[in-house]
Symmetry: C2
Subunit: 206 residues, 2 copies
Amino acid sequence: MKLSEKKIQIMEVAEKLFAENGFDGTSVRQIAKAADINVAMISYYFGSKEKLLEAMLLFRISDYMSELQSTITPAMTPLEKINCFINIVITRVHRNRRMHKIVNFEYTKDSRTIDFDKYIDQKKENYKIVEEFIKSGQQDGSFRKDITPVLVVPTILGTYLHFYYNKRFFQSVLTLPDEAAIEHYVHDTLIPHIQNTIKALLTYEK
Amino acid sequence: MKLSEKKIQIMEVAEKLFAENGFDGTSVRQIAKAADINVAMISYYFGSKEKLLEAMLLFRISDYMSELQSTITPAMTPLEKINCFINIVITRVHRNRRMHKIVNFEYTKDSRTIDFDKYIDQKKENYKIVEEFIKSGQQDGSFRKDITPVLVVPTILGTYLHFYYNKRFFQSVLTLPDEAAIEHYVHDTLIPHIQNTIKALLTYEK
DNA sequence: AAAATTAAATTAAACGTTTGTTTAGTTTAA
DNA sequence: TTAAACTAAACAAACGTTTAATTTAATTTT
């Protein structure tokens, strides 16, 4: 199954609509109209609406190749590693925020028949990496020892995602007029805030 | 519009199903079957599926009377106030986690026609309270002055919500066999973790 | 207190739309 | 000439809602 231009176009349109109105809240006719194609093309290309979602997930995840290993070097201190990790992961999640929103919601459904295995593998990989960094910092004495590494990830990702899910709210409170302003705020203020938070949590003295 | 037993029963069933399968992913026939009533009763009682959701939101929000003002006294230090706030808010959100999940998702939809005003008011109120506590701590010198108060809330709520949305994942990692175990973990470990994080963020020396 | 009357609660069936998918045919490109 | 791309139309199923009839409960009249 090669990825023709048309297929990619359909997946991108679908991602946008799924993120905006939910999977169940989006009809194949809406997607077809927005992508300027015939409804039948969705079944023709992907088989079904569900399989379109799965194809889109794989398409996005394949973007995900580990830039982590290439930018984080063994010479770094544990804190530098964590900061680097936060920067990369938040930037990455922000870039794919629509997909994450869709998964975040669809994954919790009881009735789901969609295959999220690849996504979950990715997720578990992330947890392992953070855990490794934190434990090495705890061993060399630079981090507090009473921190549960597994709870650090929800703080990192949760902070960002809560910001994104309440975008409208923060836009008005922080007077961010457009998407470009939000982009800047995420990189210049939100990511440093999260880095600050985790640094403080891991290193402060009681 | 008084709240008969039947109406409450329908709203509770609807809340559960909406949280599990989404608003669009739940049909009125599913609700009717689960609540053991005739489908027509939903229109009869609430007018429409959308109005059922709105009625359910109001029903839950009315629970929300400010226990904050009654438990947080002026004699407390800013840090004590923040800790108390975290405890109350997370416990409250946890208790109403289903409703929060529904709102969190439906609110971001472009196509939404549902009235969330009461919910947003509640939310803004929370932000004002945290901001007040943090600013008073910054004035008396016990908190760092370079913290943006508005970003503290995403860290508090985001950490909890990310935990809840990935419940299945954490259940397996932390070996929490049932709902009771999760309940204990939230109160004994997650809430202290959040309190720790915010305390560290607000008080640590660089 | 019993009967008659009225209102509310509940039902099954039907309403017109919209849903995802398939079919059978046509156009385009190799 | 053959396979892939594409289309309009049709499909049955499911959707939220309404209708009209019936049962239950409350109120009023006798």
